[in-house]
């Protein structure tokens, strides 16, 4: 057993009954370095101050109670080792900062009101199976892969870590958000569900729905269970746009298509073309459509602001960015590869990103990393067997000497 070591926890305290503002309390605890921040908190509670409020039960990252922010990052207290937390200290002196999650009102200390935000949003997505009729006498006979596939979103423990740091939700509190949309995929991806189209239409037409996500990846980083909520949102979009051809009134789907076309043609975003195409149609002629004109007019204040803040220059915006021809061809090849496939391969980190013996790279694995596992089914291509630390988007590498893929 490794020796005991001292760690200092800096805990955000808030007592709603005191009338006082939140404050910081520091406690020095003694534990082996691989013990969790939760165990540290529990020791502080047991030895020094029983009034520290923190929800917890299983201690093994399955009940989802102890979502907090550690050194500014959301996660489970029971799933974060003390030594790692110490190493990522923001204060520079190794002190581990523990705060309640964001985007949800604080009730007391580390306890937030998940009902007011998280569960309300889950309720929004009709979170139960609407079973196909007739219900069979025995089980529904469905593809083996389909059930493994939805296990990824089933693996969500509703801890709220992704909700805590969702940037879109910060701007638009009504955004349905990563956890609830991942839950929605659990039904849309379930072959037994009878209302996949209705669900998708509902989520696409909602101005706070699937097109409200900005691709920031924060939820993927935050999730302790490898659910990769953003990927589930993207899968909802592909199902809605590609499979069911849902052209939502928010222009989310058209906007995404315009984006995709512009990158194919120019290699980089062509800002001046994006808006007109999103509203007027996905071609050079889009700008002559009345809807495009109207949208351009409406967007003038935003455009002005962009120019003033130098987010775009008039020249680049109007004439587009230029990239070398070879690069442009490389981009085109990516499009061809993807579009030539018979089946759409879903970028599902849970399935494609697990850490196959990194020191003895298997050829099919490197292919997986680069192309997203072209030509492989979910079952062939590993399973939701990876742990989140192995996913390519995780920044920290395992100090035990596990090179990241």
């Amino acid at each position: 057993m490794p020796a005991m070591q001292e760690f200092t926890l800096r805990v955000r305290r808030y007592d709603p009954e005191s009338g006082e503002a939140p404050y910081w309390a520091e406690h020095t605890i003694e534990l082996e370095p691989h013990r969790s921040v939760l165990e540290g908190l529990l020791q502080a509670k047991a030895r020094f101050d029983g009034s520290i409020g923190v929800r917890c039960s299983c201690r093994a990252a399955i009940c989802g109670s102890c979502g907090v922010r550690i050194n500014g990052k959301p996660g489970l207290a029971c799933h974060t080792h003390l030594d790692k937390a110490q190493a990522s200290s923001q204060t520079g002196d190794g002190v581990i900062t523990v705060e309640p999650m964001g985007n949800m009102p604080v009730i007391k200390d580390l306890i937030v009101d998940m009902d007011a935000v998280h569960w309300k949003k889950v309720q929004r997505v009709t979170p139960w199976l609407i079973a196909k009729e007739p219900v069979p006498e025995r089980e529904y006979v469905v593809d083996r892969e389909s059930m493994v596939d939805v296990t990824q979103s089933m693996a969500c423990i509703q801890c709220g870590a992704c909700v805590s740091d969702c940037l879109s939700m910060e701007i638009d509190p009504l955004f349905i958000g990563p956890a609830a949309l991942a839950k929605a995929y659990r039904f849309v991806g379930d072959p037994r569900d009878d209302q996949q189209f209705e669900r998708l239409q509902d989520l696409a037409e909602d101005p706070h729905g699937i097109y409200d996500c900005t691709h920031c990846f924060k939820c993927i980083d935050a999730c302790p269970k490898g659910v990769a909520p953003m990927n589930q949102i993207m899968r909802l979009r592909r199902r809605a746009g590609d499979d069911y051809k849902i052209n939502d009134r928010n222009n989310g789907n058209r906007h995404e298509r315009a984006f995709v076309t512009l990158i194919r043609d120019y290699g980089l975003l062509h800002e001046a073309e994006l808006l007109p195409r999103s509203y007027g149609g996905d071609s050079w002629f889009g700008k002559f459509h009345p809807a495009a004109g109207q949208e351009m007019l409406d967007s003038l204040p935003v455009v002005t602001k962009m120019l003033l803040r130098r987010k775009a220059t008039p020249k680049k915006a109007i004439f587009g960015h230029k990239i070398p021809k070879d690069d442009l061809n490389a981009v085109k090849r990516i499009y061809e590869t993807v579009e030539d496939r018979d089946d759409r391969y879903e970028l599902n980190l849970y399935i494609s990103g697990y850490d196959e013996d990194s020191e003895e790279p298997a050829p099919e694995q490197s292919a997986t990393a680069e192309s997203g596992g072209e030509g492989m089914t979910a079952a062939e291509n590993g399973q939701p067997g990876m742990e989140p630390e192995d996913s390519p988007t995780r920044e920290e590498s395992d100090p035990e000497g596990e090179p990241t893929s």
Binding site: G50, S57, R59, A60, I62, P136, D143, R144, G385
Partner: protein, 563 residues
């Protein structure tokens, strides 16, 4: 004052299933839990759920395996009910959305589990409990108009009418500290086990025996309390559970000499003998000096013999647990495990409809003892137990409600509970801390009421528990507030745990034989002539009275138990 036909305490699998069944039967239903329902400890059940759904299987075979697993202490009428209704229940779960894994033909896949004569465990990777719990909660969200949810409410006591029937509960809203009386025609306890009496345990911090103690305190008898399951594969580090599914998928157990020692103890079933047998075998290896690790207190669980792809697909969670909590990649190297406290077979005595001898009070799931598990529970039978008897309790309670008037409880009835909480909050800081007492209790029980037991150790444990009960009366807390005062709830929970512990130790002292999970080194043989009977404990003043009840036999007579 809220009033419901059926009030369910606890929102794990048993509680949620009961709520849905009662609501479907037309009753007005409320479900109350001290944590949000999806935090309930059912969430940690990993491996799967048993049911004879393979056409080549037969529920009688499942029932016989269960009877044998129980070391013939299980009541066979109850076991027949559970096993014969199992296939229908699993199909029901499938229909409401549980994402059970499929085989190549698209039908439910089944995996091998301990003590079972064939593959009959349906599963969702190794998050079966989580998957079912979350799907039941989906159904509660769907039926939010017919099932009232009181999430993060803590029950302080059960209320009895003048004739002794259970007519409601007193509870505290954890978020505000408000106390309230809940009237109910029927109360169903579904608040889980008491693993926190032991340290370490695989059980969550919330498993503090609340329901067992609450029922005991109003006179409901407890049964089979000595039967504590030690799970064979818990991390040496911290007692976390490694699912039996690992052995079901083919993993081996190895001692320090690299031997698959189960050959000696269970030559036919090997690693898949029943849990009591495997735990005892491991402990014997450790005690005889063939343990692994620096202190020789562990056994190797070797999952590397399972194809890696299969491990990553079907044992995902324990790959994570190995990495996160023991620093071991189980796909590459063996992991150190040992037996650890996991489950209590005993609990509040009920019949096959979940009825306790107290009218109006039902119990289902780990809090209850039907008894389907007898001396030892088979893996993947606990989820089944919760669902079958949760549903039956819900249905029965709903039916009973239809013929009743709503009981009346004066508001003043809760003054005692209010005062008790005020007293705890107001205690002087002179005694012990709650956490100290809890620690000592857990350590004591894990030392003396574990895999191997004998009179001296058990007597020591009983003395310790009695002393701790005294010390708990003056133990102090820090939190003086009302909002989320977890401290004061911890003090009440400690009281529940101490009552449970006293009953566990008393029953273990009483049973002077070795059967199932109870192995007495001073009485190493099973003694059917004397001890083929249940031990019932009833509260009398400050301690339990002991009595006995018959085991129900239907088809299977006791025989020597070999794996």
């Amino acid at each position: 004052m809220p009033a419901h036909d059926v009030l369910i305490i606890g929102a794990g699998l048993a509680g949620q299933r009961a709520a849905l069944a009662a609501a479907e039967a037309g009753a007005s239903v409320a479900i109350m839990s001290k944590v949000h329902p999806v935090r309930s400890h059912s969430v940690a059940a990993a491996g799967g759920i048993n049911a004879a759904i393979n056409p080549a299987d037969d529920w009688r075979s499942h029932a016989y395996d269960t009877v044998k697993g129980s070391d013939f202490l299980g009541d066979q009428d109850a076991i027949e009910v559970m096993c014969s209704e199992a296939p229908h229940e699993v199909m029901h779960l499938e229909h409401i959305g549980v994402t059970f894994h499929r085989n190549e033909t698209g039908h439910l896949d089944l995996r091998a589990f301990g003590g079972a004569s064939m593959k009959r465990t349906a599963y969702v990777a190794d998050i079966t409990g989580q998957a079912i719990l979350h799907v039941l909660y989906e159904q509660l969200m769907k039926h939010h108009e017919t099932v009232d949810r009181y999430e993060e409410w803590f029950v302080t006591s059960l209320v009895q009418g003048e004739d002794g029937t259970c007519i409601g509960v007193i509870a505290r809203d954890i978020r505000t500290g408000t106390m309230e009386v809940f009237r109910a025609k029927n109360v169903i306890l579904a608040s889980g086990g008491a693993g926190q009496c032991f340290k370490p345990t695989t059980n969550g911090l919330i498993c503090t025996g609340d329901g067992i103690a609450q029922a005991y305190r109003i006179g409901a008898p407890l049964m089979d309390m000595e039967m504590i399951q030690y799970h064979p594969t818990c991390l040496v580090e911290n007692g976390f559970l490694i699912t039996e599914g690992a052995r079901g998928e083919g993993a081996h157990l190895l001692n320090a000499n690299g031997e698959r020692f189960m050959e000696k103890y269970a030559p036919n079933k090997m690693e898949l003998a029943s849990r009591d047998v495997v735990s005892r075998a491991e402990q014997t290896e450790i005690n005889e000096g063939r343990g692994v690790g620096p202190d020789g207190v562990g056994i190797y669980l070797d999952v590397t013999v399972v194809p890696k792809k299969r491990t990553l697909e079907a044992l995902r969670e324990i790959v994570n647990i190995g990495k996160d909590f023991a620093g071991v990649d189980i796909t590459r190297e063996p992991i150190m495990i040992r037996p650890g406290q996991h489950y209590i077979m005993g609990g509040v005595k009920t019949d096959i409809w979940g009825r306790t001898p107290v009218d109006g009070l039902y119990a289902a799931g780990e809090v209850a003892c039907v008894s389907v598990h007898g001396g030892n529970r088979l893996g993947a039978n606990s989820l089944l137990d919760t669902l079958i008897f949760g549903r039956r309790s819900g249905e029965h309670a709903a039916e009973r409600s239809a013929q009743m008037a709503m009981p009346v409880i004066p508001d003043s009835r809760m003054l005692e509970d209010v005062k008790e909480i005020d007293d705890i909050v107001g205690r002087e800081r002179s005694g012990k801390r709650i956490s100290e007492i809890k620690d000592e209790l857990g350590t004591e029980l894990n030392r003396n009421v574990a895999v191997f037991r004998e009179a001296e150790g058990l007597d020591h444990a009983l003395e310790t528990v009695k002393r701790l009960k005294e010390e708990a009366k003056t133990a102090y807390i820090d939190d003086r507030g009302t909002v989320f005062n977890q401290d004061v709830l911890g003090a009440i929970e400690l009281g529940y745990m101490l009552d449970c512990a006293e009953c566990i130790v008393t029953a273990a002292i009483e049973r002077k034989e070795s059967r199932g999970a109870q192995f007495r080194t001073d009485f190493p043989e099973r003694d059917d002539d004397e001890w083929l009977k249940h031990i019932d404990l009833t509260m009398n003043g400050d301690g339990p009275d002991v009595s006995y009840s018959e085991v129900t036999f239907t088809q299977w007579q006791p025989e020597e138990r070999k794996y």
